[in-house]
Amino acid sequence: MSGFAAVLRKDLRLELRSGESTLALLALSMLVLVVLVFALDAARVRSVDAAAGALWVAMVFAGMLGANRALLAERANGAIRGLLLSPLDPATLYAAKLAAALIFMAIAEVGAVILMVLFFNLEFDASIARLAPILALGAIGFSALATLLSAITGRTRGGDMLLPILVVPIFVPALIAGVKASAAALAGMPLSSMGDWLKIMIAFDVLFVTAGYLLFEHVVGED
C-alpha cells in the first residue's frame, strides 16, 4: 500500500507544481459547454436534458484528455521503466494511476457543474448535490477504462487519436445511464427513483476497475 501512496503522491505533487492537467481539463470542459450552448441554442430554452447531456459530453472529452496525459509523463523520459523495475506490483501502479486520474477528473467536474448551472440558467439547489454520486460513479468507470486503454494507445502510432475510438463505444452503457440519471436529478427527482440507472453504473465500475486491475500488467510491460 505504501507503493500506491508513493506513486499517487508523486503524481499529485507533479500536478501541484505545474497545474497542467487540471487547468487543461477545466479549460476543455468550459469550451465544450460553450460550444454546446451555441450548438443547442440553450441560452433561450431552459432544458435539464440538454444541460445533463452537455455535462457528460464535457466529462468524456476532459476525461480523454486526462487519460492521454496520465502515462505520457512517465513515457517521456523512460520513467515508466523505473516504475516497472521497482518492486511495485503493476496492479498497484494501475490503482495509483486510476486514483490520480480520478482526482483530476473530480476537480474538472466540479468546475463543469458550476459552469453548467450558470450557462444553462439552472439553480444551485439540492438537485445539484444529487448529481455528485452520479458523476462520481461515471468518473470512476471512465477513469478505470481510460487508464487501462491509455496504456495501450500510448504506445501505438497516433495513439492519442485512437484512445477515444476505443474508449467511447465501451463507455456507452455508463454514458446512457449517467445522462439519464443526471437529467432526472436535475429535474428534481430523488436518487431512489433512478435505481436501475445507478445499478448499471455500479456494475460498470466494478467490472472495469477489476478488469483494469487484473489486465494492466499485460499492457504496461516493456518487453
Binding site: 477504462l145 501505438t156 445511464a177 456494475a203 499485460h218
Partner: protein, 237 residues
C-alpha cells in the same frame, strides 16, 4: 488429411450449401404473407448475425488463451476472427437496414437490438484500428487480447442499459411484430440450410485468413532468426 485438404473441402461444401440456400430462399420457401418478398432477407440476416456474434465471442476466447499460454497461434486466431466478424456484422446491419426500409419505413431506428449491434460494430472497428496502427509494436498481440476481453465483458452491460433506455423512451416504430412466425415447415428448413451455409462460409473464410496470418507469423520469426544469425556471423569475423 492435411490442413489445405480440409480447407478445400470446406470451400466446396460452402459452395454447395450456398447454392442450395439461394435456391431455397428464391424458389422453394413461400414468402411471409404480410411482409411479402422483403421477408426473404430474414434468411440471410439471421445467419449473418449468428456468425458475427460467434466471431466476436471467439475473439475474446482467443484473447484469454493468448494471455494464458502466450502462443502466437491464439493471437492469429483472434485477429482472423475479428476481421471475419466485422465483415459479417457489417453485412448483417446492411441487410437489416434494407429490410427495415419497406417494413418499418426507416433505414435505421434506435431500437435496443440495433443499438447494441451498432455499439459492437464500433468496438470491433476500434479493435481493428488498434491492430492496424500497432502492427509494428511487439506487444500488439497482448494489447489486442486485452481489448478483445474488455469488449466482451462490456456486452451484457450494453444490452442491459440499451434495453432500459428504450423502454423508457417509446420506440419510433408503430408496428413491430414479435417473432417472425415461421409457421410453414419450409421456412424452418430454409432457415436451417441458410444457417449451415453461412456457418460454412464463415469457417472457410476464417480458416483462410487464419492460415495466412500463421504463415506471416512464421515468416516473421524466420526473418528474425536470419537477422540474428547474420549479425552473429559478422561479429565472429
Amino acid at each position: 488429411m492435411n490442413n489445405s485438404a480440409i480447407r478445400n473441402g470446406l470451400g466446396y461444401a460452402t459452395l454447395a450449401l450456398m447454392l442450395t440456400a439461394l435456391f431455397m430462399v428464391f424458389d422453394y420457401v413461400p414468402p411471409e404473407a404480410e411482409q411479402g418478398i422483403a421477408q426473404l432477407i430474414f434468411y440471410f440476416h439471421v445467419p449473418l448475425a449468428w456468425v458475427a456474434f460467434a466471431s466476436f465471442g471467439l475473439v475474446a476466447i482467443a484473447g484469454v488463451f493468448y494471455l494464458w499460454l502466450g502462443d502466437q497461434l491464439w493471437d492469429d486466431l483472434g485477429y482472423a476472427a475479428a476481421e471475419t466478424g466485422m465483415v459479417f456484422c457489417t453485412l448483417m446491419i446492411v441487410a437489416g437496414s434494407i429490410w427495415a426500409k419497406p417494413i418499418w419505413g426507416t433505414w435505421w431506428t434506435w431500437d435496443s437490438r440495433l443499438t447494441t449491434t451498432f455499439i459492437l460494430w464500433l468496438m470491433y472497428g476500434g479493435y481493428l484500428m488498434l491492430r492496424a496502427s500497432a502492427d509494428d509494436t511487439p506487444q500488439v498481440a497482448r494489447f489486442a487480447a486485452v481489448l478483445g476481453i474488455v469488449a466482451v465483458l462490456d456486452v451484457p452491460i450494453v444490452i442491459a442499459s440499451v434495453r432500459l433506455w428504450r423502454t423508457i423512451h417509446p420506440a419510433v416504430l408503430v408496428t413491430k411484430q414479435g417473432g417472425h412466425g415461421l409457421e410453414d415447415p419450409r421456412m424452418v428448413a430454409t432457415l436451417l440450410v441458410c444457417l449451415a451455409a453461412f456457418t460454412a462460409l464463415w469457417a472457410w473464410l476464417l480458416m483462410l485468413r487464419f492460415t495466412q496470418l500463421r504463415t506471416r507469423s512464421k515468416m516473421g520469426a524466420l526473418a528474425m532468426r536470419i537477422a540474428f544469425a547474420t549479425a552473429a556471423a559478422s561479429d565472429g569475423k
